[in-house]
């Protein structure tokens, strides 16, 4: 036990940890960030944190390098570091004290979209800075031109809500009421502010306590050395994994259907340049900054790129700075993936990041075809709606009905699972109905929505919510022109679609393609709903893997029995002829049809 505080970096560098102490500290770091998430989820007030888990928590070392992160939203992962750095730049380390809680949400200072609030506290032990606890949560509403800041009709960041530069919310353990007042004054949901703030503070305290315990037991020098060595450890794993990918340049692309203004898709082009144990991700050729609110600031694009690669590089390695070191980013200055003031950004974490992932995965499919999966539904389908009850009470609710995941080289894709960018949970119907004047009418699997293949893409969902009040709904989504691409001969999934069901039962497509092939802008901005009208959303599935007519006919029959796939789709897409009355495969008709399809 070294009681003496040591700040000499050289001593830390020279401290060699035995493998056992290393392993022990690694699990303590991991536990500390997990503990943060337990507290934030359980103690927070707004449903988007407590029910939907749209938050991430992490611990950074004394150099502000990621040390560990709790498994919640990958899109927050790398971006939080930029926020923490912005805070330190603003105040300077000597002016950050024990008991401080600092906050920032500025998209151009390490943020992503305005609703992601980042809180940070320094972790001190006996006067020595060990690192920082950082907690990022999506706040339900911080003002702006539409509920939840989803002002897709706007073209300026000022329309998306309160943009906070780095500020201290607590100084040396004392709350700065004027900052809390500013937050309370700039939201449609002031009733969440104090409770969510308390939850973030509790979560930061939990991390501080765990790290201080570890410092007391193992000593500051050992702890700091373990932080660095853990990052090197992860970096070794990632570099080893990269070096197994053949060197070369691999290209991929995907697009957003619209920015809300354009009538042509907005392109992402990506080149993965694999050289030895490093990868350069180059977005040259990507479209320029756009008018609508899907622009992505640098931190968001960086986050999306890094987590997308993580799936195929080192999915089980400890999550820390070592993941990022082997990766170089080239994001052209004027592109929509490197947004500067005053470009609006509200759709960046959800819509844009999902498209970045899809583009990167399609590039990877060329490098490691035997390992890459069909594309996921590649959208978060996040919506926010105001509701004004008959008594005039206004509230804001939100949900994010997921689509399916792509089929893998070994199995069908997961049904209705949050996109890789996050790991949010849906809103339980019974919670929503207790809190808001709405009725959930459906959240169920959508037949035939998975991309056909030897392995089938996971299914999307049918989601319905009925208004029992006046409402205005905003939503980002894409994949409304074509579904999720398959790989290795696998096929596209179905398209997504937003529908209003009028009180007389008439179904009006309000976003995406209708039956006549007319397409409407799916970036809804404060779309009005009256009492009794229903918002319906059809999410898409994942892309298929391999040729559908090579799928085991028995597996197709099982899918038909479970109504994942219709009898018609079994015949037309998979070439499996099923006698619907007996629920049996017609073997000879199937053989003939499959020969025809394969030809």
């Amino acid at each position: 036990m070294d009681k003496k505080v040591v700040v000499d970096a050289a001593v830390v560098d020279q401290t060699k940890l035995d493998p056992v102490t290393f392993e022990v500290l690694r699990s303590i770091f991991e536990y500390a960030s997990d503990r943060m998430s337990t507290v934030l989820q359980r103690a927070s007030f707004s449903p988007i944190l407590a029910d939907m888990v749209d938050f991430s928590n992490a611990i950074y070392d004394y150099d502000c390098q990621l040390l560990s992160q709790a498994a919640n939203c990958p899109i927050h992962l790398a971006a939080m570091k930029f926020s923490a750095e912005a805070i330190i730049r603003r105040y300077g380390l000597p002016n950050i004290f024990e008991g401080d809680v600092l906050c920032v949400n500025d998209p151009y200072q390490g943020g992503t979209h305005i609703n992601d609030m980042t809180f940070m506290s320094p972790i001190f032990f006996e006067g020595e800075l060990l690192g920082f606890a950082v907690s990022r949560g999506h706040w339900m509403d911080l003002g702006g031109g539409a509920a939840g800041g989803q002002a897709f009709a706007g073209t300026h960041i000022a329309g998306e809500g309160l943009r906070l530069p780095p500020v201290k919310v607590y100084e040396r353990g004392v709350v700065r009421q004027e900052i809390v007042d500013i937050l309370m004054n700039n939201t449609r949901t002031p009733h969440f502010v104090k409770g969510d703030l308390q939850a973030h503070v509790g979560c930061l305290r939990a991390a501080i306590l765990e790290m201080q315990r570890a410092a007391a037991k193992y000593g500051v020098v050992t702890l700091k050395a373990a932080m660095k060595q853990l990052q090197e450890y992860t970096e070794r794993i990632v570099r080893k994994s990269i070096s197994e990918i053949p060197d070369g340049v691999y290209e991929g692309e995907d697009y957003a259907d619209t920015d809300g203004f354009s009538d042509k898709p907005i392109q992402i082009k990506v080149k993965l340049i694999v050289e030895g144990s490093g990868i350069t991700v180059d977005f040259s050729g990507t479209d320029s900054v756009v008018k609508g609110a899907i622009n992505s600031p640098y931190a968001n694009t960086a986050s999306a790129s890094l987590y997308s690669l993580q799936f195929f590089l080192a999915p089980h390695a400890p999550q820390n700075q070592g993941m990022f070191n082997p990766i170089t980013l080239v994001i052209p200055e004027n592109s929509w993936l490197n947004a500067k003031w005053p470009a609006p950004t509200i759709g960046c974490t959800t819509l844009t990041s999902a498209k970045i992932t899809s583009a990167i995965w399609q590039a990877l499919a060329k490098a490691i075809p035997e390992r890459v999966t069909g594309s996921t539904s590649a959208d978060c389908n996040w919506f926010v709606s105001s509701v004004v009850a008959t008594n005039g009470a206004t509230d804001v609710f939100s949900d994010l009905p997921a689509g399916g995941w792509g089929a893998t080289p070994f199995s069908d894709g997961m049904n209705v699972t949050e996109d890789p960018l996050g790991n949010c949970m849906n809103m339980p119907a019974e919670t929503a109905e207790l809190l808001f004047p709405i009725a959930y009418e459906a959240f169920e699997l959508r037949q035939d929505s998975g991309g056909p293949g030897r392995y089938r893409g996971g299914l999307g969902a049918i989601f319905k919510v009925r208004y029992l009040a006046e409402g205005a709904l905003s939503m980002e989504t894409a994949r409304t022109l074509e579904g999720s691409p398959g790989v290795a001969g696998g096929q596209h999934s179905d398209v997504q679609r937003q529908i209003k069901i009028h009180t007389d039962g008439h179904r009006e497509v309000i976003g995406g393609l209708d039956a006549e092939g007319n397409w409407k802008n799916p970036l809804l901005c404060a779309h009005p709903f009256s009492h009794g009208e229903t918002f319906m959303f059809e999410s898409t599935g994942g892309g298929g893997y391999g040729r559908p007519w090579e799928r085991d006919p028995q597996a197709v029959l099982e899918d038909v029995l479970d109504e994942y796939v219709s009898v018609t789709a079994a015949r037309e897409r998979y070439g499996v002829v099923i006698d619907a009355a007996a629920m049996r495969i017609d073997e000879s008709a199937t053989r003939a049809l499959r020969q025809q399809l394969a030809a």
Partner: protein
């Protein structure tokens, strides 16, 4: 008459029994029989030499329901839900277990989609009917169920926690057409809000009812055939017991029926030896189980998941398991770090030293090399030390440590994994480890308990005298128990106290009725009230104790204060800026049973010192005494480094640890000299 506790495990069926007239105690251990486990139970009783007609109570813990669920080994059940919610039990909460694994798959739903039907009925969140249940539609589904010859059905409708009328009507219609089917409904299974947990728990119940019906019927027949005429009682996940008839109807309450016995033993020790707070740990071949006893009672969770997104929301002992046991394999990961587990060599091929084909070094092999295991396992088998050493040397070469350092490292890492599991249940619920004593059950448990305790800064470890048959012993120490719940959603300040009092009275009456069915007279019934509470606007509840009398406005400040305290303890924060709210009301009724006798051990005979061995601790070999635990007299003291061997278990004391035998024969180990003081 005899009171018999039986725990049927994967390998052994354990028995502990005591006679309530003679105070005599017996134990036995026989092989578990498969697939029918009933003959093993009969064998254990025979082995113990107890006459079947002399048994008044037989308390039984079983993992049958859990095994059936995990293997989906049950006849296909059907499910009927509100239209739009057919897939609630399959979609879950739409999140994934592994953040970055693109190949992951989700567990299969408990009930196949092809047998999940919907009806166009609807009740709103206030319990008012929006769309009535149509008899024709319901009848058509009942006919489909008959056509598929399905014998077990779950009915779960949205907002039925508020008003279960439609579910009851649906049940009646299904029964009309299928009189011999089991039909269970969500509003009677667990009337709490949030559909995913309630629907899934109801599905679990429907899936396991036929399995448990068959199992218990066989067991009853087998026992009856031997002359048994006493009461057969079953261990519940909540840490109480119930009559077999209730257990048949509520298999969803038996998920932790196996491990619950061990926790009951910990609770018994807590009272007997006056340790209010105990951490119960049990190390087996493949897993490490941990749970907490606080103020003499097991800590309860309502968030248990059988698998990813398959929650069973009945109140259940909070038992956390991790893959760390004697069979855990040592390996070097892709980043060059030494790891232990979670992969296990299990019982086949087992540790390298068993010579059954195992090639990778396990925790047991490491213990052998460190001198902590007797190389003949007390004459039961000869362990192959050379093979263990060779395998460990191969591992050591990969990380540049010596063989013995690698073995020691594996143990430390394995113990740290166990300590993290303890932390998960302890610290994550706001408890301070230093307020606890660590109790170690299972044969391998006490080989590691001191190191786990050290890592957690826990100063004392206890190894109970019946550690070898812990769950069977615990079964005889349990009380009858039922947990009942009713939804009541309101801020505390504006709650309708007349309604609250009426609900509590109704729950209590039901609880007392259930205990009366098991023959418990009113005067032996203890009633405890709780409420699930949260701040207005929060989503998660914290259980708060509620005074057990007719509530008046004068009680409100005390209830609010108690809630703030509970919230602070669970999550580290609380504030009277926010108004507390009630979400549901709970009543726990317990029927006091007689506890096993506390037998004080006399002065034991024989030489307690069996010999001496070299054991590796703290980077060096230490000459260490080996004691026969059964020969140690009360108040005897032994000092580490040493080994204390028992018939079914063995304790390893590191240097500076000091153990004392208490008057009941339990070994109490003090490791405070090895702890960091200022944490």
């Amino acid at each position: 008459m005899w009171r018999v506790g039986i725990d049927v495990g994967g390998t052994f069926t354990d028995l502990y029994a005591w006679n309530d007239e003679t105070r005599e105690q017996v134990t036995s251990k026989v092989l578990t029989t498969r697939p029918d486990r009933a003959p093993g139970v009969v064998n254990a009783i025979r082995e113990a030499g107890i006459a079947f007609n002399q048994i008044s109570h037989l308390m039984h813990g079983t993992t049958t329901a859990t095994n059936a669920l995990i293997e989906r080994d049950y006849p296909d059940p059907a499910m009927v839900t509100t239209e739009g919610f057919r897939d609630t039990i399959e979609i879950g909460r739409q999140h994934r277990e592994q953040l970055y694994d693109p190949y992951q798959v989700k567990p299969r739903p408990i009930i196949k989609r092809r047998y999940r039907y919907t009806v166009n009925e609807r009740t709103d969140a206030q319990g008012a009917v929006v769309r009535p249940l149509q008899r024709e539609e319901a009848l058509a589904i009942a006919e489909k169920i008959r056509a598929h010859n399905i014998k077990s059905v779950a009915v779960a409708f949205i907002n039925a926690y508020r008003n279960g009328q439609h579910e009851r009507d649906m049940r009646d219609i299904i029964k009309e057409v299928n009189p011999d089917a089991f039909v269970v409904i969500s509003s009677e299974t667990r009337p709490v809000f949030r559909e995913h947990g309630r629907f899934t728990t109801t599905a679990i119940r429907a899936a396991t009812i036929p399995v448990m019906e068959v199992y218990f019927a066989r067991l009853e027949a087998a026992l009856k055939g031997e002359g048994f005429a006493g009461s057969l009682m079953i261990l519940k996940s909540s840490g109480g017991i119930t009559g077999v008839d209730y257990a048949k109807q509520h298999p969803e309450e038996l998920i932790e029926s196996g491990p619950a016995g061990g926790v009951a033993y910990a609770a018994y020790l807590s009272q007997l030896c006056d340790y209010p707070n105990i951490i119960h740990t049990d190390v087996g071949g493949t897993s490490f189980d941990v749970s907490i006893v606080e103020n003499g009672k097991g800590l309860i969770t309502r968030d248990h998941e059988i698998e990813w997104e398959i929650p069973c929301i009945v109140p259940m002992l909070d038992i956390h398991s991790v893959g760390a046991g004697g069979g855990s394999i040592g390996w070097i990961d892709e980043g060059g770090s030494l790891r232990a587990g979670p992969r296990s060599a299990g019982s086949k091929p087992g540790p390298v030293c068993y010579g059954l084909g195992g090639a990778e070094p396990t925790i047991t092999d490491a213990n052998l090399l460190l001198g902590r295991i007797e190389p003949t396992l007390g004459g039961k088998m000869t362990l192959d030390r050379d093979a263990a050493e060779a395998s460990m040397a191969r591992l050591a070469a990969g990380i540049g440590l010596s063989t013995i350092e690698t073995a020691d490292g594996m143990i430390r890492i394995g113990c740290e994994n166990m300590a993290q599991a303890v932390k998960k249940v302890l610290v994550s619920r706001g408890r301070d480890p230093r307020d606890f004593i660590l109790a170690s059950f299972g044969g391998a448990g006490t080989m590691h308990a001191c190191f786990v305790a050290e890592s957690m800064n826990i100063p004392r470890v206890i190894m109970p005298i019946h550690a070898g048959v812990a769950s069977a012993f615990g079964a005889t120490a349990m009380d009858l128990r039922h947990d009942l719940e009713a939804f009541y959603f309101s801020p505390v300040a504006t709650a309708d106290l007349a309604a609250v009092n009426a609900l509590y009275a109704q729950l209590e009456a039901e609880g007392i009725r259930l205990l009366a069915e098991d023959g418990v007279p009113r005067e032996r019934i203890e009633v405890r009230r709780t409420a699930q509470m949260r701040y207005v606007g929060q989503t998660y509840e914290v259980e708060t104790p509620i005074p057990a009398h007719v509530l008046t406005a004068a009680d409100i400040p005390a209830i609010e204060a108690l809630f703030h305290q509970c919230h602070e303890r669970e999550y580290g924060v609380s504030s009277d800026d926010f108004a507390p709210a009630l979400v549901s009301l709970g009543v726990t009724v317990t029927g006091k049973m007689e506890s096993p006798p506390a037998v004080e051990v006399g002065v034991q005979g024989g030489d307690p010192v069996k010999g001496e061995r070299q054991i590796w601790f703290n980077q060096a070999w230490h000459a260490s005494k080996v004691y026969n635990g059964h020969a140690l007299a009360p108040a005897a003291t032994v000092a580490g480094p040493c080994i204390v061997e028992y018939e079914h278990a063995c304790a390893v004391l590191p240097p500076n640890a000091v153990a004392t035998v208490d008057r009941f024969g339990n070994l109490v180990i003090d490791i405070s000299k090895n702890l960091v003081s200022n944490v």
